[in-house]
Each structure stands twice: as C-alpha cells, then as structure tokens.
C-alpha cells in the first residue's frame, strides 16, 4: 500500500515503523544519548526510536527540540525517518537541520508498529511493504 502525503524534507529511508498516538517532545521527552523515549506516561516510554521510522500525530513542547534532533543525528541515535499527520515547526525545522526524511498529511492509522515501510521525503509518499 502506498500512501500519498506532503514532502517536508527530502531523502528516502526504509525501516521498521514505530507508531504512537501521542505527540512527541524531543526536548526533555527523548534522551538523545540512548535514543529512548523518556517522557513519563508516554505510550513509547522506554522504547528506542533509533533507526526506525517514527510515526506520530504531531510534535509538541519546546523549540529546543529541533536541536535535540540534530544532536541525535550526530550521535547516530536519530530515527531513520519521520511520518506525521500534521507537521509542526519544531519537527519540521529539526528534520531539515538534521537531514531526516519527513512526510506529513498521512493517516497514521494505516501504519502498524513493526511493519517495514519506505518513506520517500522527496516525493511525499509512504509505502507499506
């Protein structure tokens, strides 16, 4: 199945999806050293997002989160790609400065954790294998 969305940042990544219905705050909500979600009570608390396609509705929290994403990219703990329902400026800017492929305007109910998916940030598509 191929889903058509909107391109946010270019690049193609193929990886396992990790899906949540909760918003994500990279600043304070994700540990850039381990790549794990640390926000207390978050659906993904304790799980690693490193190397996966991170699928969530939208970003939240401090604008410093863009820098946290950049830090993760440099430390090789970043997600391989990001898929959102509706992008916000923190995640968009984070993807651009960290060069993480990103697509939004996707109905994330179509994607399940563990599925292999291909995110094409240059075309704005998400393919479920």
């Amino acid at each position: 199945m191929k889903l058509e969305g909107r391109k946010i940042y270019k690049g193609i990544a193929e990886a396992e999806a990790i899906v949540t219905k909760d918003g994500i705050s990279f600043y304070g909500g994700v540990d850039p050293d381990t790549g794990k979600v640390v926000e207390v009570g978050h659906e993904l608390e304790g799980q690693s997002i490193t190397g996966k396609v991170l699928v969530f509705p939208t970003g939240k929290g401090s604008t410093v989160g863009s820098y946290t994403m950049y830090r993760m990219k440099k430390k090789n703990t970043a997600p391989a790609a990001i898929v959102n329902e509706q992008i916000d400026t923190i995640i968009a800017v984070g993807c651009i400065i960290s060069e993480i492929p990103c697509v939004d305007k996707i109905d994330i109910n179509n994607i399940k954790t563990g599925q292999k998916i291909i995110v094409n940030g240059s075309e704005g598509t998400v393919e479920i294998k």
Partner: protein, 399 residues
Amino acid sequence: MRLKLTSEEKDMLDGKQGRSTQKSMEILTTLGEIFDAECMIEVYSVQIAGVSYANLGEAGLEFLSEMAEDGKVRVLTTLNPAGMDRENWQALGIEKEFAVNQNRAIDTFAKMGIITTCSCTPYLIGNAPHFGQHIAWAESSAVCYSNSVIGARTNREGGPSALAAALTGKTPKYGYHLDKNRHGQVLIEVKVPVKGTDEFGVLGKIIGDKLVELGKKIPYITGISSATVEELKSFCASVATYGGTALFHMEGITPEYNMYPKPRDNIFEINQDNLNKTRSELIDDDIEIDFVSIGCPHASIHEIATIASLLKGEKVKKEFWITTARPTKRIADEAGYSKIIEDAGAKFAADTCCVVAPIKGRFKGIMVDSAKACYYGRAKNKFKVKIGTIEECVKEATI
C-alpha cells in the same frame, strides 16, 4: 508548490550563496510551504533566542558552529539573554565550566555578525523597528511587544528559523505578516483600574489563561486608560507566557486598535475579584524569600532609576539581582544609579535573567514584580514565588 521564489532566493536554495544560506533557505521555504505562504519578504531585523548554554546544550552549539562556518547575517540581528553576566559571572555564582561553554556560544553568534546584546528587550537598545515593518523575532515577550505596541509584524520564530531569517534577510509571508491574521478574536473589557508592572503581569495571566481555555490567540482589550512602556513590557511577557499570545490590541494604547473591527462574540469582563484571585495564584503558601529579582523582561533605565531612589542609603539583606541589558547598565553607570544600587549590596546581572541562568534549586523563594518570572521560577527553577510591586520587592530585599 504555491510559494514563489525570486531568482535570488532560488540561488540561495540551490546553494549558490554557500551552505549556511542554503540550509537557511531550506528552513524558510519549508515553513513557507507548511503555512501556505505565497512568497518571501525582506525583514528589517532579527532577534535570536536560544542563547543560554543551559537551553542550547552541545546539540545547539554544534548546529550554530556549522552555520557559522560560512554564514553571515544580512540584516540587523540582536541576541536574547545568555545564561550569565559576561563580565560579572563569578560574583553571581556561575560555574566556570558553564561560563566557558556560554562564551563559546556567544562567540559563535558573534562570528556570524550578530550583535551580542544579550537582551530580551531589543526594542529598548537599538533594535527598534517602526510601525508596519516586517521583522523575524524569537523571544516571545519581544514578539508580543513589537507586534502589539510598535505595530511591526513578526511570527513567533524559534531559534533556527530566526537565524535562517538573519542569514538570508528573508522570511516567508504568512501568519502575522498578513492583515487578515491580525484581527482581534476575543473582547476583554477591563472594568477596574490596572497599575504597576506587577498588576499588568497579573492582567496578562488572566487574559492568557482565558485565551488558552478558548483556544484563541488575539485579545482586543478595552478599559485601560494609560500604560507605561514598563507596564506594557510586563504585560507582553505575561500574556505570551500564559497564553502563547503574539499580538493584542488595546483600545487607545496600541497603534492598530482601530484598524480592525472589535470582536462581537467571546466577550469577557475583568473585575477586581479576577485581579485578586489571580494575584493570589502568583503567591505561594509558606514562602520563605531568600532571593529578589527585578528585570523580567530586562529592566529599563526608568526602572533602574526607581530602584536606585528606593535603595538610596539602604542595605539589602537578601540576594537581590537587577537583570538588564548591558547598554542599559552602562547608562545606569554614568547616571550614578549603579553605584547607589551596588553600595546597597544589590547586584546587577546584565546579559542574563532569572529565566535562563542556571540557578535551579539555588534559592528557596523568589520575589519578583513579573508574572512571567513567577512561571519560570516555579517550572524551571523549582522556587516558591511571590509577586509584588517594584517597591514591595525592594523593601523585601532590605528586611
């Protein structure tokens, strides 16, 4: 793609003007597309936030260093407060390791041609746009002040998007740059006299909380007969902190109040009971005050003159910081205010403030005249807080 770029902007995006300019244009065009901008516009000036090393961390600093490799600002660009006074950090109890890292960050900004003012009140110290000018500012209180009190036009930028505007001189034309997005949405009728920086801060919290509850952003406020610059800067900081507000109209005070119709629905009154109740929310029970601070947003020369007149011949018995911009401190030095204040035992903390300095847990209770400082005093620094007038704050420091 709806966003139309000029040939110069395309060159920037294609990397013909260097890597930092290209990265900046990628940020700006992506934001432009997300928010459905038709074109880019030139900005008069930029205010950059995300300066304190406590917020930036190594991650932010790495990004800035990469941008500074070939990036130079194209417009007047000033800087938000840092995590410490650049000259007096040791006396204020800042660790050396932090100071070294903070200076690395400031030097990186300077390398790009940014004027390292380190202040949240750029409009008081030379970054002063005029009515209708397009700008790209971060720092929520200054965004609110420039949009509302000056009538300049900016969105609430984050650190990277403000830097991108500085390195290209452009911003995408959406949001508050357009007339159609500047209309008041909620009518707030203030039925009680409001006076002083503390009370304007209380008013900002009432309105900010109400806006969040309604899911609205732009209040149209009536019933304020007069307001000083200092009262407005306190109000801006508060309504931006509690309501995420970037723009308000105040009848008879702000320049755009009669450019758009008054909101006809969503009408709310504010009376003395509202002021009392919200003020009590900004005073913690069982507070033991060991720290007093004035200057959130940064103290103006008028406020410093007031503090000097109150402290003349007095001795403070508690840690007392006056946070301000270094250029304002220099005026205070020449006018003799600094000597009076320092002779009384109070300290200037220029370039920094209680929101961004690394002082978490260092004090038990803080007294301030700012509703914004109350929010961050609690949330970030884990202090108990108490709001009061500037006179009450100075008195508290001396007992």
